[in-house]
Subunit: 391 residues, 2 copies
């Protein structure tokens, strides 16, 4: 054994200190003690019967949260982006047409992902803060004849809650699968996967669910599975191959589960607990609470003289609010001031909304009038103390 030439780093000798902070940006949100504690349970095997039981509870919780009876419902071992790639990698083969609705950064990223695996990608773009009409969508479907249409339901970069009704039927009329990103909306605004004809739906653990980032619920309709399981080519990723994942999660007819990957068991614990919290409150109650708190927040913002970025009320995401960046101010100074002075995260824009907005996320147990008051007070304070140029 030769001696090591690189010594142990000094920085690991110090104790790690993590601050408590109000997480009122677009995510991750604060994790309540019940969920954090669940994640601190001892590690057992990724193939132990107790783990399979917890995974089965997660499946039921996802079916409830998504309002679906799809048996192919499970959690990807990764973040929202992993689920996004899981959806696209499995449903699309090289050379196939994909249509992407772009109303913010998520559409841009979905288009990039589909291009990387050799799809022919067309986009329809909504103006920032706006959304696509069903007529526009139908026109594009009929023109491009895609196998998959992507849409972000909760566009956290622009604060838009995209209408979903009728789009599933349009997709199916043109023989296309309907893929919806509900990372920022699920649990905070109504989604009915089966009724709305959504074929693939995914979200993340770190928004309304209030679990740490690292797992991503996803569900595939029978129609989607038909396409996936009749592919001519293998999906580019073994790790995200639906046939393996469905087996690991007990969603197929095989008598035995085969070792695929080592599931992040402690992340499963916290995801399970976060789904239990949502089931305890009830979906409708959670939707209603987010809506009420959002309206209370929006009124408060307007009384501070601030403007909402999304004009149309029904298209405002109740979980993440976009505020027109106050004229004359540097948005970075505002978010830094609020972080420093109030120990509270709010954020600037992202992708197409960069420089245009401030974003405030009140998700899951963070969504309360008391927290709204805290954010409004912080904003009032920032507008008073940050530099203002004459405009």
């Amino acid at each position: 054994m030769s001696p090591v030439s690189i010594p142990p780093p000094q920085c690991l000798k110090k104790r790690m200190v993590v601050p408590q902070r109000y997480m009122f940006g677009p995510g991750p949100s604060n994790v309540p003690p019940r969920i954090l504690e669940a994640g601190a349970n001892p590690v057992i095997g990724h193939m132990h019967p107790e783990t399979f039981e917890i995974m089965s509870q997660i499946k039921s919780g996802i079916q409830y949260m998504f309002q679906t009876q799809n048996r192919t419902s499970f959690a990807v071992s990764g973040t929202g982006h992993t689920a996004m790639e899981c959806a696209i990698f499995n449903t699309v083969e090289p050379g196939e047409n994909v249509l992407v609705g772009v109303n913010g950064i998520w559409g841009e990223r979905a288009a990039d992902m589909a291009q990387r695996i050799g799809a022919r990608v067309e986009t329809i773009v909504a103006p920032p803060g706006g959304y696509l009409t069903n007529a526009e969508i139908e026109k594009a479907l009929s023109k491009h004849r895609p196998v998959l249409f992507f849409l972000a339901h909760g566009e956290s970069s622009t604060g838009v809650l995209h209408p979903l009704d009728g789009i599933g039927d349009l997709c199916h009329k043109y023989g296309c699968l309907f893929l919806v990103d509900c990372v920022a909306s699920i649990g905070g605004a109504p989604v009915y996967m089966d009724q709305q004809g959504i074929d693939i739906l995914y979200t993340g653990s770190q928004k309304v669910l209030n679990a740490p980032p690292g797992t991503a619920p996803i569900s595939f309709s029978e129609r989607a599975c038909q396409k996936v399981f009749n592919r001519r080519t293998k999906p580019v990723s073994f790790f995200l191959d639906l046939s393996w994942l469905a087996n690991y999660w007990g969603c197929d007819d095989k008598p035995q589960r085969i070792y695929h990957h080592t599931g992040p068991v402690t992340a499963f614990y916290s995801l399970r607990e976060s789904l239990a919290v949502l089931a305890d409150e009830g979906l409708e109650n959670s939707w209603e609470r987010h809506q009420k708190v959002a309206e209370y927040f929006h009124t408060g913002l307007e009384s501070l003289g601030l403007k909402l970025f999304v004009k149309e009320k029904r298209a405002r995401l109740p979980t993440v609010t976009t505020i027109v960046s106050p004229p004359g101010y540097d948005w970075k100074e505002i978010t830094s001031y609020i972080m420093k002075k109030h120990n509270l995260e709010i954020s600037g824009g992202l992708g197409p909304s960069l420089g245009l907005v401030l974003r405030v996320g009140l998700m899951g147990f963070n969504s309360s009038e008391a927290n709204v008051d805290m954010v409004l007070e912080a904003l009032r304070d920032a507008l008073q103390h940050c530099h203002r140029s004459k405009v």
Copy 2:
């Protein structure tokens, strides 16, 4: 808002109970309280300065653990399989030749992954429990002229610790990158990434590191980065695109970090802590302890009349021991008996070793003579009480 048609599942009403269990299979291993508690710290932002500081400590810890000065050292937000795909997706373009050393399941999976992205894959196969000689490797390199050669250092399916010396030089002689899987070996057996000319090295958090599964340390040499950053095509995965990951982890020259994905911050906390534990003990001490404990274990197994699957002493993995499945017994009955009676996980074979072996992992803080005694006692008991057919 229409009413929901799928009610909240009853199974989420029960309290989740996770048992304590001796995790002496090939992983995940037990997580000590210090590391579990680190992971229960509050969630902060994936782009907050405190998170960047923790990520920077993780980088230093990985450089130490891997014995490398590579600045492109970081943790993938996923499990070992994710890191494996990260390595292959970034270094290989469609149509390029890849050579895979197969001495167990990991080579088989690496070959599958490379094929999925359109590489031309050749394999050289070692008999189960054996390894490849440098002469065999050179012959294959010279014949196939691959851009990448894959080898598993710690083959957890067969219990082989593959010799590494000299192979890096051979690869470079033929203009090929050397990719090594050290998921099951790192921290438990010597690896010197820079000295041994390894170009890409990755591991998982859930073995010797004793952190929960969900993060995977990886490092790329300058030579590997040269190839990756001069690709003609984009890697198939946005989530695993090295140029994005290197930026998120502060490994590039760009002045600013751009939002890529939401890092699993609590998993970063536990990974950081596990690296601190390793640095506290010191690599050489950890290697020595694993080696001593393994030899003590192997002697004990032989005195029970059991046979080791790997004949050559120096090729035995000190972290995961493969025992020839006791003749006349059903291996499944043995592992089930030990789980039920002793609350202790040991496992059967995997891939090419399925049905041939029992596997016992004593990794990180699980590697102690006291735990060896516990496993030996459980095995002795099982051999006495399980059914034996006349052979």
